[in-house]
């Protein structure tokens, strides 16, 4: 009886050890995903009253970009909006630690069709837990951008590519929801600058993506 207890205790501890070591969402992260919806917000307010708000919303294969600019001199507001078609918005997260996010947008308006293809690729890792900011294990993921390619096909086909080293350019997301067929991630930035000359500047950025 005593021997059985020792066996069982060992097995229980071992299982607990394995589970607590296991990167439980690694398997869930790895997939060939489609970005079914995304929203991005860029909000800048300067001390002089200049405001710039850019929102990019992707849903149902359309991609809408809205820009609102408020001039500090006469408080006039200028708004522009354009809607593009999503040809492809895929995010492949691989088991070997690499990833590729390909976003292909098409502007059907105008006399010539315009295609914009942005591809981020690199390596990804989980960020370990931290007591101070209360993030738990595997709750945050860092996507190192090693190559960024921006291809514009209009009257000509031109690609601008920028290569980086690991850690030089990264996207850090909080995993909001992680299932076998659904992954929700969010990036949030809120930079507040204030100087002794009463200068202030606020920059808020938000990006949330839903993949399935």
């Amino acid at each position: 009886m005593k021997r059985i207890s020792v066996y069982m205790l060992s097995v229980v501890f071992l299982t607990a050890g394995v589970i607590s070591c296991g990167k439980t969402t690694r398997g869930k992260m790895v997939n060939d995903w489609n970005v079914v919806s995304s929203s991005q917000e860029y909000n800048y307010v300067s001390q002089t009253g200049e405001k710039l708000l850019v929102t990019e919303v992707s849903a149902d294969n359309s991609y809408t970009i809205k820009t609102t600019h408020t001039s500090p001199s006469d408080s006039t507001t200028e708004t522009t909006s354009s809607t593009l078609t999503v040809v492809e918005n895929s995010w492949s997260i691989k088991k070997d630690g690499t990833w590729i996010w390909k976003k292909h947008l098409r502007n059907p308006s105008g006399s010539i069709q315009e295609d914009l293809i942005t591809t981020h690729s690199g390596t990804w890792s989980f960020i370990k837990n931290n007591k101070t900011d209360e993030f738990k294990k595997n709750e945050r993921v860092i996507f190192n951008v090693l190559l960024l390619e921006e291809r514009q096909i209009l009257s000509s086909d031109i690609t601008t590519s920028t290569s980086y080293l690991t850690g030089e350019k990264s996207l850090i997301f909080s995993v909001k929801e992680s299932g076998k067929k659904l992954l929700e991630m969010e990036y949030e930035a809120n930079n507040l600058y204030s100087g002794s000359g009463s200068e202030t500047q606020t920059l808020i950025k938000k990006l949330s993506v839903t993949l399935n």
Partner: protein, 219 residues
């Protein structure tokens, strides 16, 4: 015999599971450190041939920096600065927070210039990755959550100019990512490297490269 073997196997597996969970360098990272030496180098080359080469080194008491700009014709000019290090401390706490305090002074035509910057935030290890061959706890990420900057200029003991600024960020917004090169109880070496190249339609538009290394000793 068979039972003994099973006991041993269970205990071995149990120990292995526990060991693999241990954050072996967490304890070594957390300390009150002094940056006893640092070296930062960067090179930026534009498509027209112009380039900027910058370097900065510090030791426990002094610093020197140099920036050389070369125009497309190959003519170059260099600006050198040097001064004293009042403080270069890096506090890494076990609770996941950190603070880096830097204070430098420089004399300029009888004026004493003092620059003080305090960064603070949270830190975490970055998990291993097969794609880039980094192992567990080999990389560390410092989230900058706040930056406070103060500048003062004094002449004959009186402050003639001052400026200060505060910046706040969210976790993940502004990060410093280092590779741990050496991690002992009383010494820590951190390094970061950058190297970007921009190609436009296959043509090189410019390259940037840089390397920073810090050697920290227990205070």
């Amino acid at each position: 015999m068979k039972k003994h073997f099973l006991y041993l196997l269970s205990i071995t597996l149990l120990s292995a599971a526990m060991i693999s969970c241990a954050k072996s360098t967490q304890g070594k990272m957390a300390n009150e450190w002094q940056v006893v030496s640092s070296e930062e180098n960067s090179t930026s080359v534009n498509s027209d041939g112009s380039k900027t080469i910058a370097s900065r080194t510090t030791n426990e008491t002094s610093y020197s920096s140099s920036v050389t700009n070369t125009n497309p014709q190959g003519e170059s000019s260099t600006a050198n600065h040097s001064g004293g290090v009042n403080a270069f401390d890096w506090l890494i706490e076990k609770d996941g927070s950190w603070t880096r305090t830097e204070e430098y002074t420089e004399m300029d035509s009888g004026k004493k210039l003092t620059y003080r910057t305090v960064y603070s935030g949270s830190w975490s290890f970055v998990g291993k990755n097969k794609g880039d061959d980094f192992k567990k706890n080999e990389r560390v990420l410092f989230n900058v959550l706040a930056k406070r900057y103060n500048f003062t200029q004094t002449e004959q003991g009186a402050t003639t100019m001052s400026y200060s600024s505060n910046e706040t960020y969210l976790a993940g917004e502004r990060v410093l990512i280092f590779t741990v090169k050496e991690s002992k109880q009383k010494e820590l070496q951190l390094e970061s490297e950058s190297g970007s190249t921009v190609l436009y339609d296959g043509e090189n538009q410019g390259t940037n490269s840089g390397k920073s290394s810090f050697t920290l000793k227990e205070k």
